[in-house]
């Protein structure tokens, strides 16, 4: 759910049904995007699984910037996964041959 202005698309608050797990990681990737001027998240009440992510950009549509950051986070995850799988395979091969 996006709360913003129709006239000024560069600043809005996104209310998502998430928690710190995704919100903190998204906040990190958003901050690293050079188009973002302000970004942060808050949890309105701990009993309710809702998080408000505030994005203010230097002109681009806030929704597009958030989507791009999600894509960046997905690429980071994919890279982590492939590097991890490679490292596990290497470890198993090295230790398998050593124990023989």
């Amino acid at each position: 759910m996006e709360h913003g202005s129709y006239k000024d698309q560069s600043a809005s608050t996104f209310s998502l049904a998430e928690d710190h797990t995704l919100a903190n990681a998204l906040r990190f990737t958003l901050n690293q995007d050079p188009r973002v001027s302000v970004c942060g998240y808050s949890i309105p009440h701990p009993s309710e699984a809702r998080v408000n992510i505030r994005v203010q950009t230097t002109g681009d549509s806030a929704k597009e910037v958030l989507k791009d950051s999600c894509q960046d986070l997905m690429m980071i995850c994919q890279h982590v996964r492939s590097t991890f799988d490679q490292a596990v395979t290497d470890f198993k091969n090295n230790n398998g041959s050593e124990s023989e």
Binding site: E2, F14, L16, E18, H20, T21, L22, N24, A25, L26, R27, F28, T29, N31, Q32, D33, P34, V36, K63, L66, K67, C70, Q71, D72, L73, M74, M75, I76, C77, Q78, H79, V80, R81, T83, F84, D85, Q86, A87, V88, D90, F91, K92, N95
Partner: protein
């Protein structure tokens, strides 16, 4: 930092921060009283006045990111993630603990229990027993669903302590028998029909017929004490297990626990020799320091095992030592430890956790589009 006149400052290479700022950005300084520099400088324009770009460049991340596996066996693993930010490492940890699905006993049908342990306490204990089955083979069961072979596992427990033995009997988790054909207890119905009576579950086929379970019977972790019975007491019950996540109840958490710590860095700011060196080596409870013999009877202290440092700060507790030894943590080097309860091996758990974070991002993108 010693004071240097402006015109004597060294020339900085482009795209690199001065050393003190690099220290502030990449290391947590663990001082005697409290750690400082704990926040990550994430803002892309943080160092724009210096001409250094702090934004995320995926190619650089791909080149710098490394994973090193230190220990790996069926139960636990220890590995290093180098070059990633704390928020993402924490996201993986949170998902490993709370959002990876497992199977755990949820409904307990007690036919007979004359033990001193109350039914609800017994049911609670049964729920906490880890079930060694791959949860990806099962579906979630919602309120409206009928329990069938695709979403539940049925176990039976029937133990009786014989009067003749005179000793107490301990009921262990390996006394739970897997019933691949489903529940054996018949539903109470008004009209008795001649066809097969309906039970509490509706298995259309036996779970043994599935290829995954043909030679692999579903077991629970053995050796866990469920209850103790005195002579003459008996427990007869059926336990149904379903799929869930740790967020709902901790019994569905697939890890005994999962944690990470940042790599400690111990730096000797001055040369520490002779007596002081021996004192330093004796002070450290985990033997981080070693004595190096420099020849001519001069002994110097050196940092041998910084990774073992628990940051107890014994070496800087006494006055005067804080200028000699600097304790720091490297902000982007995480030593992850994952202890699995047996459902899935730890390396599979981590891969699944990363997949779940990717799925969350995708759902946000679809929600926004």
């Amino acid at each position: 930092m010693p004071k240097v006149p402006l015109w004597d400052l060294p020339e900085l290479p482009q795209n690199q921060l001065p050393l003190h700022l690099q220290l502030q950005k990449t290391r947590v300084s663990c001082n005697n009283d409290a750690p400082t520099n704990t926040e990550n400088v994430t803002y892309s324009g943080a160092y724009s006045a210096l001409g250094v770009d702090n934004s995320l460049r995926l190619d650089e991340f791909r080149n710098d990111f490394k994973v090193k596996v230190i220990k790996l066996n069926e139960e636990d693993m220890e590995f290093d993630l180098i070059g990633i930010d704390a928020s993402i490492a924490n996201a993986f940890r949170r998902i490993l603990i709370a959002e990876l699905p497992t199977m755990a006993i949820e409904k307990v049908l007690v036919a007979n229990s004359s033990s001193v342990v109350q039914d609800e306490v017994l049911a609670h204990r049964l729920g906490l027993i880890p079930i060694k089955v791959d949860p990806r083979l099962f579906d979630y069961m919602s309120e409206n669903d009928v329990p069938n072979e695709k979403n539940s596992i049925v176990f039976k427990l029937h133990v009786k302590c014989e009067r003749k033995s005179g000793e107490r009997l301990t009921v262990y988790s390996h006394d739970l028998e897997w019933l691949p054909s489903g529940s054996e207890y018949v539903l109470p119905t008004e009209n008795s029909s001649e066809s097969k009576p309906k039970t509490y579950t509706s298995f259309t086929s036996s779970q043994v017929s599935l290829p995954e379970f043909a030679n692999n019977p579903i077991t629970v972790t053995p050796g866990i004490i469920i209850s103790k019975l005195a002579p003459g007491q008996e427990i007869e019950l059926e336990a149904h297990a379903v799929k869930g996540v740790g967020k709902t109840h901790a019994k569905w958490s697939p890890v005994a626990t999962a944690w990470y710590r940042m790599l400690p860095e111990v730096v000797l700011l001055q040369d520490i020799e002779d007596e002081d060196a021996q004192k330093l080596v004796n002070k450290c409870p985990v033997n981080v320091f070693d004595i190096e013999d420099m020849g001519k009877g001069v002994k110097r202290a050196a940092v041998a095992r910084p990774r073992a440092c628990t940051l107890c700060r014994e070496c800087i507790r006494e006055p005067g030592w804080e200028e000699k030894v600097a304790l720091r943590r490297v902000k982007d080097h995480f030593i992850f430890t994952i202890e699995s309860t047996g459902a899935l091996p730890p390396e599979v758990l981590f891969t699944e956790a990363v997949k779940i974070l990717e799925d969350k991002c995708e759902s946000v993108i679809t929600e926004l589009s």
